[in-house]
């Protein structure tokens, strides 16, 4: 029998696959828009000038509030997004940072803006130690262990008389006039947020970040590829706690009131998770976009629907719809489909 092998060079499948791969390759080194976050930062730094022409305290408050969540969600992203360990207990570090710096302020009068890095460090050490225990398990068990951590911290703080127990602790307010009173915290928070975003960028593009991503996919494979998974994970935990702790420090003084149930709330952690996931877990711009989106949505709900159960229903609905239609988050899903606007490509 005659065998015919037509090795036609114009094989359409070959073409299609090559085109596909080229598309993927192009996406891999798509130029990122570093100018955009920088421009955003400049605008935000100049924003308080508005105070000269009127009272824009609420705008500043919103930006500050958003920035604090940007910092925390980005910090959370290191552990939850890069390493794949979803923690619902990160508000513990928010609380530890807040209380540590807050007590220093109350007793010695040192502003939390100065002690924030120290507070972050304390949170990081705690994160490191907790990580040694809880990072032994992954998936649902880890999530639950993080909730348990939160509960334990809550009970301990509630019963620790030295820091005011469940009744809380008031901090002195600064003496600036109403118009300028927010500025120190505003700038501190913007700087912390910017620093955190920059840090997550650096981490993602380092060997450490690559290792974390490998860990999030398959820990055994990662370990056998020569990655010290335990060290990487625990470091990721400590780093993410660090940024959340710093934020907590400044937030405490800004609120002038420390109370376990302001900081140690599951809803605070849930917000971090929601923001990161809605924006795009594991991406740089994701937590930022998520934070802005959630704060804006909250404002919208408050403004249009006021007080009602619609509020919580709305939040749940947004989360569900977001997850169903953007399973990788806004940034992640758009990037996968190749439809991400250039300005949001930060990684």
């Amino acid at each position: 029998m005659n065998v015919t092998l037509q090795q036609s060079s114009a094989n359409s499948v070959l073409e299609a696959r090559r085109a596909h791969n080229e598309k993927l390759a192009r996406r891999a080194d798509q130029t990122r828009a570093t100018w955009f976050p920088l421009a955003l930062l400049v605008v935000l730094l100049a924003l308080p000038l508005l105070q000269f022409v009127g009272n824009y305290n609420y705008v500043l408050h919103l930006v500050l509030f958003t920035a604090s969540y940007v910092a925390m969600a980005s910090g959370w992203n290191i552990l939850g997004g890069f390493a794949g360990y979803v923690s619902l207990g990160h508000s513990v570090f928010f609380g530890v940072g807040g209380y540590f710096a807050g007590m220093l302020l109350a007793r010695y009068g040192i502003s939390t803006i100065i002690t924030a890095p120290l507070a972050g460090l304390v949170a990081a050490v705690l994160g490191y130690m907790v990580g040694l225990i809880t990072l032994k398990v992954r998936g649902p068990s880890f999530i639950i262990s993080s909730i348990a951590l939160l509960m334990i911290a809550r009970i301990l703080f509630d019963n620790w008389e030295f820091i005011g127990g469940a009744n809380g602790l008031t901090l002195p307010t600064n003496d600036l006039p109403v118009q300028w009173a927010k500025l120190p915290y505003y700038y501190a928070m913007i700087v912390i947020a910017a620093f955190t975003v920059w840090a997550t960028y650096r981490i993602k593009h380092s060997k450490f970040g690559l290792g974390l991503r490998a860990i999030s996919k398959d820990e055994i494979k990662a370990e056998s590829a020569g990655i010290d998974t335990r060290f990487y994970k625990v470091m990721a935990f400590a780093l993410s706690a660090f940024f959340v702790g710093m934020t907590g420090a400044v937030w405490g003084e800004y609120l002038t009131y420390l109370r376990p149930n302001i900081f140690l709330l599951i809803l605070v952690s849930a917000n971090l998770v929601l923001m990161s996931i809605l924006g795009g877990k594991g991406t740089i711009a994701g937590p930022v976009v998520g934070a802005i989106l959630i704060v804006a949505l909250n404002e919208l709900f408050v403004a249009t629907m006021g007080a009602s159960e619609v509020n919580i229903l709305g939040t749940g609905l947004v989360m569900a719809v977001g997850l169903i239609f953007f399973p990788l988050g806004l940034v992640g899903t758009l990037a996968k489909k190749g439809k991400l606007p250039r300005v949001l490509n930060w990684d």
């Binding site: 065998v3 092998l5 499948v13 085109a19």
Partner: protein, 242 residues
């Protein structure tokens, strides 16, 4: 010559990705052993997945006993009589070997008959009988492969499609495997297999198919495929025929 399964010029791919198959065709005749060969990534597994309904077919037809299968679910296609053992072992890792076999006969309604057939299988494969209560996920690679194969023997379908049945099996067992396949085809079950161990595969088949870059390059008697020098060089490791 009446064909049992006719695949004509199908196009298929994963999700909204590129077409992996484009212009693949295949004719399966009753009672014979068919062997598909081709390099890695040629689309062999993809072809089998398209036939059994795991992938949506974008263009072309799959016709089985005169009935069009396009758009049917895998479980419906199984009930039509086409059974598929994928390459990545389709076992239930946290079920025992026996329960895996029991699942193999899920479409049988007669539980007594099922138990009888399971016993028959365990009889035939001593290694499985030895491990009947072990979780399938903790078995060795070859043991898992054996189990996956053995499971297809429980129901007696019109066509069995096997994706690299010899994978990870010891030489002695491979021989047994092919013997079983021959026996199945003798019993009237049509076999369609994909093999990288092409020499072995073709030697034990009646019909050979060469697939590369998503299209069928050659279809013909297995002996012809084995004999062709270009196929030798490209797909069989360049050795002279035995």
């Amino acid at each position: 010559m009446t064909e049992l399964l006719q695949v004509t010029n199908i196009t298929a791919g994963y999700g909204d990705g590129p077409a992996i198959l484009d212009g693949a065709h295949l004719t399966v005749e009753p009672g014979k052993v068919h062997c598909i060969i081709g390099p890695n990534g040629a689309g062999k597994s993809t072809l089998l997945k398209s036939i059994c309904g795991m992938l949506t077919i974008r263009k072309g037809d799959v016709v089985f006993k005169g009935k069009r299968l396009n758009g049917m679910r895998p479980d419906q296609i199984l009930r039509e009589g086409i059974c598929f053992v994928p390459q990545e072992r389709a076992l239930f890792p946290k079920m025992t070997v026996r329960d895996n076999l029991r699942m193999g006969g899920f479409i049988l309604n007669d539980q007594k008959e099922l138990d009888r057939r399971i016993d028959g299988i365990l009889e035939r494969f001593p290694i499985l009988r030895e491990r009947a209560e072990q979780h399938a996920g903790t078995m060795s690679g070859g043991q898992q492969q054996t189990l996956a194969m053995a499971r297809t023997l429980i129901i007696k379908p019109a066509i069995v499609m096997l994706d690299e049945p010899s994978l990870g099996l010891a030489p002695k067992v491979i021989q047994e495997m092919f013997d079983i396949m021959k026996m199945m085809s003798a019993e009237g079950v049509t076999v369609l297999l994909v093999e990288q161990n092409a020499l072995m595969g073709l030697k034990n088949s009646d019909w050979g198919v060469v697939l590369d870059l998503g299209r069928t390059l050659f279809e013909g008697p297995a002996a012809d495929v084995l004999a062709d020098p270009r196929i030798q060089e490209l797909y069989l490791g360049g050795k002279k025929a035995a």
